[in-house]
C-alpha cells in the first residue's frame, strides 16, 4: 500500500476525511485488511433514492393541497347554506297565534267599552233602514 493511501486511511480513522475522499477510499482496490471488508459492507448496504423521488413527493403534496382546498370550499359552502337557512327561519314573520276563544274574549272586552250600546239600540227611533244603512234618532 502506498504511503498516500496509508495517510488517507489514517485520516479516515481520525474522521478527518471528506465524503469524497472516503468515497475514493471505499472504491480503492488497494486497501488494508479490515478496511477492505468494511468497504464491501458499506457498498452493499448503501441505499439509493428511487428516481424522481422529489417529483413524486411534490405531486402528492400538490394533490393533497388541492384536496384540502376543495374540502374548505365545500365546508364554507355548507356554512353559508346553514347561515341562509337560519336567517330565513329567524326572520320569518310571526304567525297570529290567538285561538278563537282568545279572539272572542278580546272582542267582548272591546265591546264592554261601550256599556250603553244595548240601551241605545232599545231607545232608538228608526227613520230609515235598508241592507246597508240604518238611520235612527235617539232621545236622551
Amino acid at each position: 500500500m502506498s504511503s498516500d493511501k496509508h495517510d488517507l486511511v489514517n485520516k479516515y480513522l481520525a474522521a478527518k476525511t471528506t465524503v469524497e475522499e472516503e468515497e475514493a477510499l471505499f472504491n480503492s482496490e488497494d486497501q488494508p485488511s479490515g478496511m477492505k471488508e468494511w468497504s464491501t459492507y458499506v457498498k452493499q448496504k448503501r441505499k439509493k433514492a428511487p428516481a424522481h423521488l422529489n417529483d413524486k413527493i411534490w405531486a402528492s403534496i400538490q394533490t393533497r393541497k388541492k384536496r384540502r382546498q376543495r374540502f374548505l370550499m365545500g365546508l364554507s359552502g355548507m356554512a353559508a347554506s346553514i347561515a341562509i337557512i337560519l336567517a330565513v327561519v329567524v326572520a320569518r314573520p310571526t304567525e297570529d297565534d290567538l285561538n278563537d276563544h282568545e279572539k272572542e274574549v278580546l272582542f267582548n272586552e272591546a265591546m264592554s267599552m261601550f256599556p250603553d250600546e244595548k240601551n241605545i239600540v232599545a231607545k232608538k227611533d228608526i227613520l230609515y233602514e235598508d241592507d246597508a244603512v240604518i238611520i235612527y234618532r235617539v232621545s236622551e
Binding site: 480513522l13 479490515g34 458499506v42 448496504k45 441505499k47 413527493i57
Partner: protein, 167 residues
Amino acid sequence: MKAKVFEDKVLSLSERIFPMVARMLGNKENAEDAVQEIMIKLWDRRKKLVNHPNITGFVFLTARNYCLDRLKKKSPEIDPSELHLKILTSDMNHDQVEWKELTTIIESILKELPSQQREVMMMRDIDGFEFAEIAAATNLKLEHTRVLLSRARKQVGIKLKEIYSYE
C-alpha cells in the same frame, strides 16, 4: 414559506434523507412512503420553518425522529431482497455465503459499539451524511460527532483486522 422556497430548501433534501430512512426502517419499499410522510409533515409546518436558523438540520432531525417514532411503534421490517436471500440459504453460491458471513461479523461488531458511535458511523459511511447533517440529526456538537466517528472507525477497524488478518 412559499411553495418554491419549500421545494428548493426542503423537498430537495428528500433524496439525501432517503438512505437513512431506508436503513433505519429496514425496508426500501416503505422508505419512499416514509420520506413522503416526512415531507408532508414539514409542508404542514412550513410557516414556522421560514424563520428556522438551520432548515437543513431541522429536516434531518425531523426525519430521524420520525423513524425513531415508527420503530417504537413496531419492529423494523425486513427488506424483501434480504428475505429472499434468507430463503435461498441452501442454494447460496460462494459469494453469497461470504457476504452473509461478513454481514454477520460486521453487524455483531457494530452491536458492541456504544449506540451514538454506531449511529454516527452508519450516518457517515452508509448514508453519506456530512458532519453538519449528522450533528443536526443527532443533536450533537459537530466536533463531538467527529470524535464519536473516529472512535467507532478505529474500533471496527481493529476488530475486523483481528478477524481477517489471519486469512
